[in-house]
Amino acid sequence: MKRSGVSVVVVTLLLACFISYAAAESLVDEVKKRGVVRVGHGNTTPPMNYIDEKGRWIGFDVELGEEIAKRLGVKIERVLVDNKTRVAFLANRSIDISLSNISVTNSRQEQMDYAEPPYFWTGKIFYAKKGKFKSLKDLGGKKIGVDQGSNAFIAAPQELAKYTNKKPEMLSFQNSAEGFLALKQGKIDAYSQDAPIMAAVAGSLGAEYEAVGGMIYSPGLYGIGVPENDSDWRDKISFIFQDMLKDGTYEKLYQKWFGPKGTFPMSVNSRPRLSNTYGDMLYVWPD
C-alpha cells in the first residue's frame, strides 16, 4: 500500500502542474484581493531600468512602478523580464503591469494594451564612431547591431531602405551593453537603439560616438503595458498615471532622472506633457 501512496502523491503533484484557475474577474479586483501587484522590469537598459554599482535594481521605470503600486495601495512584486519576455509575460498574465521601456507599436498591440498616455518620448538612432559615417546612406551593407527583442530589428532596415539599396547585415545581442561593447571593439559598424538608452549605456565614453547624421528615426513612445482586454485595469492604471502628471509627482521623478541636475541629464524634453505651451494638459483626460 505504501508504494501506491507515493505514486498517488507524485501523480497529484504532476497534475497540479497542469491545473490552473482561470480568472474571469478584472485584475483590479484580483490585485486588491492578492494585495500584491506584479510589475515587470528589465535590468539591462539604463536609465530606464538597470543594476547600479552597488547591485541595486533602479531606474526611471522602477521608481514609476513603485509609485503606481503605492497609489494602488498594494505591495509591489518586481518581476524580472527581458526584451523577449516583457510582452510575452503580459500576454500570459504572469505580470500585471509591464514597465520596461516598451515602445508602442502596432505588432505589439495585438498581444497587449497600453495605459494612456505613454510616459516617455523617444526615438531610435544609429550610434557609431564620430565621423565614420556622414549620413544614413553610408550605412548600406554595413553591420548593424540591435537588441534581441527590440523593434529596431524591423525598423532599422526599413529606415535604411529609404536611403540606399544595399541591405544592412543585422546582428542581435542579448542587451544594449553587450552591443555597445561590440560596437566599441569594432565588431559592428553601428548600433541602433533608443537615444536616451544609448547615451546612458555609453556613459562617459559617449564623447567618442554620435548619432549618424544627427538623425532620429522611428520616433516612438514608451507605454505602460497592461494585459489585453481588461479595460477596467487599463483605466485604473491610466488614471493613476494621469493623477501623477497632474499633481507633479511625475515631474519630480522626471527631474530626478533627466532634469539638469538629474542622474542622466537630457537636453530634449521627453515628457508626455508639453509645459507652458498651448495644449499643456493634452495628454491628460479632462475630468
Binding site: Y21, A24, E25, K84, Q148, G149, E169, L171, L181, G186
Partner: protein
C-alpha cells in the same frame, strides 16, 4: 466566477509560424550552424585533447606541467565563460592588426563559439584519452619497444589505437554533450538554432512552436548519435575479441 480547467493554455498554437519566411530561413541557417559548430569543435577538441593527454602522460616536466595546469584551469571554469572570453576579450589581447581583422569578420561570433567550446571540451577529452592511455598494458608497450619503434611511433601506432578502442563510449558521450553545448553560442550572437528560436520569439512573441521543433531536433540528433555510438561500441567489441582470438 472561478472555474477550474485542466490544461488551461493561455496560448494559441500557430504551427504555420516556423514555416513562414524569414523565420524558416533563420531556422535552417541555425540548424546548419549548429552542425558546423558541433562538428568542427568535435574534431578540434579530439586533436587538442589527444595532444594534451599524451603530454600529461609524458615523463618530461616541461610537457607534463603545462598540460596539467591547462586542464586544471579549464575544468574548473564554466564553458560559458570561455565563449564570452573568446568573443569579448580574446581579440583585444592580440597585437593590433589582428584585433581589427577578427573584430571586423562577420562570423567572428561563430569562430569565438568554436574556440570557446573547443577549449572547454578538450580538457574533458584529454581526461578521457589519458585514462585510455593509462589502461594500455605495459606488456604491449614493452613489446613495441623491443621491436625497435621510437617513442613517437609507439604512441602513434601502438598505444593510441588501443587506447581509443577502450575509450570509445565515454568519448561518444562527451561528443553528445558537446553537441548540446553548441546551444550556448547564442550568448555571443552566433545565429545557431537556439538563437534562431529566440529571435522568432522576440519578433512574433510566439516562441513555443519553434522551441518545440528545436527541442525535437536536439533530442533526435542526440539519441541518434547515442545509438550510433552503441552500434560502434558493439562492432568494436567484436573486433577486439577477434583480434585476441587471432593472437591465440
Amino acid at each position: 466566477m472561478q472555474s477550474m480547467k485542466i490544461l488551461n493554455l493561455r496560448y494559441d498554437f500557430d504551427w504555420s509560424i516556423p514555416f513562414r519566411e524569414p523565420y524558416l530561413g533563420w531556422l535552417i541557417t541555425g540548424v546548419e550552424l549548429t552542425f558546423l559548430i558541433a562538428a568542427v569543435t568535435t574534431i578540434l577538441s579530439l586533436f587538442a585533447g589527444t595532444i594534451l593527454a599524451v603530454m600529461r602522460t609524458s615523463r618530461f616536466r616541461f610537457l607534463n606541467i603545462p598540460a596539467r595546469v591547462y586542464v586544471e584551469i579549464v575544468r574548473n571554469i564554466p564553458g560559458l565563460f570561455w565563449l564570452l572570453f573568446f568573443y569579448f576579450v580574446f581579440p583585444q589581447m592580440l597585437p593590433f592588426g589582428l584585433t581589427d581583422i577578427l573584430n571586423r569578420y562577420t562570423y567572428y561570433s561563430v569562430i569565438a563559439g568554436i574556440l570557446g567550446l573547443t577549449v572547454d571540451n578538450s580538457a574533458y577529452v584529454s581526461d578521457i584519452v589519458r585514462t585510455g592511455l593509462l589502461s594500455v598494458q605495459r606488456g604491449h608497450i614493452e613489446a613495441a619497444v623491443s621491436t625497435g619503434l621510437n617513442r613517437f611511433q609507439q604512441i602513434r601506432y601502438i598505444i593510441l589505437p588501443m587506447a581509443f578502442r577502450t575509450i570509445m563510449p565515454p568519448l561518444g558521450t562527451r561528443m553528445i554533450h558537446n553537441f548540446k553545448n553548441s546551444s550556448l553560442c547564442m550568448a555571443i550572437a552566433a545565429p545557431e538554432l537556439t538563437w534562431a528560436t529566440q529571435q522568432v520569439e522576440s519578433i512574433t512573441f510566439r516562441g513555443l512552436e519553434v522551441t518545440f521543433l528545436a527541442t525535437v531536433f536536439y533530442i533526435g540528433i542526440s539519441l541518434t548519435l547515442a545509438i550510433i555510438m552503441i552500434r560502434v561500441e558493439r562492432l568494436l567489441k567484436i573486433d577486439v575479441t577477434s583480434v585476441t582470438q587471432m593472437r591465440t
